[in-house]
Symmetry: C2
Subunit: 325 residues, 2 copies
Amino acid sequence: MRDVAKEAQVSLKTVSRVVNDEDGVRPETAARVAKAITALGFRRNDMARVLRQGQSSRTIGLVIEDVANPFYSALTRAVEEVARKRGYLVIAGSSDEDPAGERELLRLLCERRVDGLLVVPAGSDHRFLVPELRMGTAAVFMDRPAVNLDVDAILIDNVGGARRAVEHLLAHGHRRIGMVGDVWTIFTAVERRQGYVEALAAAGVGVDEALLRLGSHDVVAAEAATRALLALSDPPTAIFAGNNRITVGALRAIRAVGARTAVVGFDDFELADLLSITVMAHSPAEMGRQAAELLCRRLEGDRSPPQRVVLPVELVRRGSGEVPP
Amino acid sequence: MRDVAKEAQVSLKTVSRVVNDEDGVRPETAARVAKAITALGFRRNDMARVLRQGQSSRTIGLVIEDVANPFYSALTRAVEEVARKRGYLVIAGSSDEDPAGERELLRLLCERRVDGLLVVPAGSDHRFLVPELRMGTAAVFMDRPAVNLDVDAILIDNVGGARRAVEHLLAHGHRRIGMVGDVWTIFTAVERRQGYVEALAAAGVGVDEALLRLGSHDVVAAEAATRALLALSDPPTAIFAGNNRITVGALRAIRAVGARTAVVGFDDFELADLLSITVMAHSPAEMGRQAAELLCRRLEGDRSPPQRVVLPVELVRRGSGEVPP
DNA sequence: TTGAAAGCGCTAACAT
DNA sequence: ATGTTAGCGCTTTCAA
């Protein structure tokens, strides 16, 4: 910038004014400055700008488990869209469901002075964020609430969705309904398990622990868990798959074994229609959008008490959930 | 930081030393400083740090078309992984295949002084990046080469892959082979079209322009284009789908019409196995990894001439490509 | 309409 | 082992 000033024979401040479209510069002076800028290939240094102006990097930090999971990539896309429309850029990182990695990532983001954080939390205690929040960094949690921290969260109706999934299978005559779920440490896995149990209890069908397999965090594990269920002497006639990864694993297992087990999966996915898979659908994009919009409102000064939004989950019948026992 | 210094009764520099784990600080002093840091909830401001140290924000800018597309999300994931291992964070943005949006995004990233750029280019002229590159910002292009700019690129074998896809269909007896492709402005679409044409020419089968439909940039458009092909009085017996989005659209159309058209798709996708879809597979993750690693090498001072890496594409037979005419 | 100087939070270089 | 000073590139304040 100093070079530009010298080149254009004006003061630093004048260059600054031109760069920031402030008025009070004669057109001919502005033109001279503009020429110098292109000549020298000048780019305003936002770091210095932010430093001086006092802390708005116009950046949002996004922490999710894994962008490669379509659930999170849809969410990321929606976040990006809202953020850019409001003039923010997004620094994203995958935590891989590791609390330590998550914490490290959050630290890095805070050191870079992101204005706000959008987090799908992996850890089970987020008190370490208290100082940041007090320093003015806003945060909105997604998919899972914060633990030990009173902060905004956009969630979905996990219990209700799971309950309706199982009710649907019960309505089609199934009594031996298995569940393959994610690991216990994940909020949504536990909630969906609860929905499963509630539905069975309400129908007067007891929970057979042999049919309830939490602990599968990826496609491969889910396939193995499903195979184990199908290999039981009295296998389930239907399976409730706890999320999009698990549904894929379950389908692979069922196909491999050649069974005709009914399936309802939690989370919709792109080719579910061609595979005729009945799912409990909801919108990760809507979750991202609402979270980003709420965060932006917070950044613009909204100080109302922390909200908890619960988005709906909807049954989409496509065939696999309507197979009889 | 000044507050911390005051609180701990030491100088600024001492606090700096503690924060940066430099040595030359007595343990008890360090402890006092550490206490002050936690007490005040202090976080080093990386903006100021970068400003002083001279331009390494330890940040990489990533510009792709759309994170929600599994091709790009896999790539993004790999980029993130390499970047974090080397101590970089990733600022990502989707260009939506819009040259103006891409340029704007690149400008924002450069203003934020990212150390390097990873770009799947949408525009058809990237000369505007010349000043940035001269200023020391490194760049690696992915999936498509830069136009009018001599810079590293990690590509895949589009022509060869497309040729082999069509050869495979020819080998299974097809003579009326349709192609549904992306828009003309996209490098890969044109290359894949060329492979298609070459394969037909080599087999002595003429190109029937009625069977060649470029211009579908999303699933919906691809479905429509495929429906149009299938509605011809003499429809193709096989379809070569130009990318992952197009394959999905083509499958929907074929299913809707109830045809038994053979299909080979470019790009592998998650449920292709369950749907028995033959594809030309390659690894977007590998592309992201290699691009990120090359970029990091450049950032560490590698000044060797720009490279162009071409990753292989492999035929994966799953059934849909082996259907007879 | 334009400019000079101070300072954002930090670290490099040099004292002590 | 610790402190002092200057300055990164910009904007803000106030003066010309």
